[in-house]
Symmetry: C2
Subunit: 156 residues, 2 copies
């Protein structure tokens, strides 16, 4: 499939998901030849999972299918610019490229918090709306030392 047709499928999934009671978001993951390996839609409300955005769902489906946590060699087509959670997931999954249709500004106009979260993430933790507190950092570092000392660890 062409990149345009892969994006059309992501958009079709978004509209279909609205008809099914979900949010207006769809995503497709494809290999370099344009073959779809997995898709995802936003299932936050019906699955009671605030992380079940279209991109996260597509990544989880693709990695489960391909039996790897690394999606190098694949691209993601999302009907909307990913929120910070989904963009983070795209980085961790090592996807080659991101294509998107609607922007975070479009998402803001229909009531979604993507832009707000982008603004918050850039701030120092002490300046965010989300209260946060550093606790027992001197004890927590032991878990990182355990990691460093483990000779048979699987890096990722």
């Amino acid at each position: 499939m062409t990149k345009e047709n892969l994006m059309r499928e992501a958009i079709r999934l978004a509209s279909e998901n609205v008809a099914n009671g979900g949010g207006p978001f769809g995503a497709v993951i494809a290999d370099k030849e344009g073959n779809i390996v997995a898709t995802g839609v936003n299932r936050v409300t019906d699955s009671n999972d605030p992380t079940a955005h279209a991109e996260v769902s597509a990544i989880r489906a693709a990695t489960a299918k391909l039996k790897t946590f690394n999606l190098q060699g694949y691209s993601i087509y999302s009907s909307c610019e990913p929120c910070p959670m989904c963009l983070g997931a795209i980085y961790w999954a090592r996807l080659d490229k991101l294509y998107y249709g609607n922007s975070k500004a479009d998402a803001k106009r229909i009531g979604f918090d993507d832009s707000f979260i982008y603004e918050e993430i850039q701030l120092d933790p002490t300046k965010r709306k989300l209260p946060s507190e550093i606790l027992l950092d001197k004890e927590a570092i032991q878990s990182f030392k355990d990691w460093e000392n483990k000779t048979d660890r699987i890096d990722y």
Copy 2:
């Protein structure tokens, strides 16, 4: 439990997870009285899921258990400062407060990409290491119109 003991449990989970072959990250979600409702550890490598960080895993476990996508009234205790994906998930879950031990700088020192992703997310998409391209935005907007026109939608 006190906030210190909730954090100690998150740290204990992180060290236990290293011993079990996973990454050095643990998280605990507790209610206002300090009762643990769910926990999570990093299972990226053994579950082939790049989104299975400790905080995302704890949020998914808590929302599944409580049968809601909204964790208002609950706090999260993470052995390490959340990466952008997990911080985004914390916002979407509407958690009241975040406590963390190790910092993203500590995570960078032992080889994790948290700081890099924080830097990337702040950039305009055209300036990121991850190539991205806007595609068919004029077609994609129809899915948002479908959402706006849906009278029985569930906002979130």
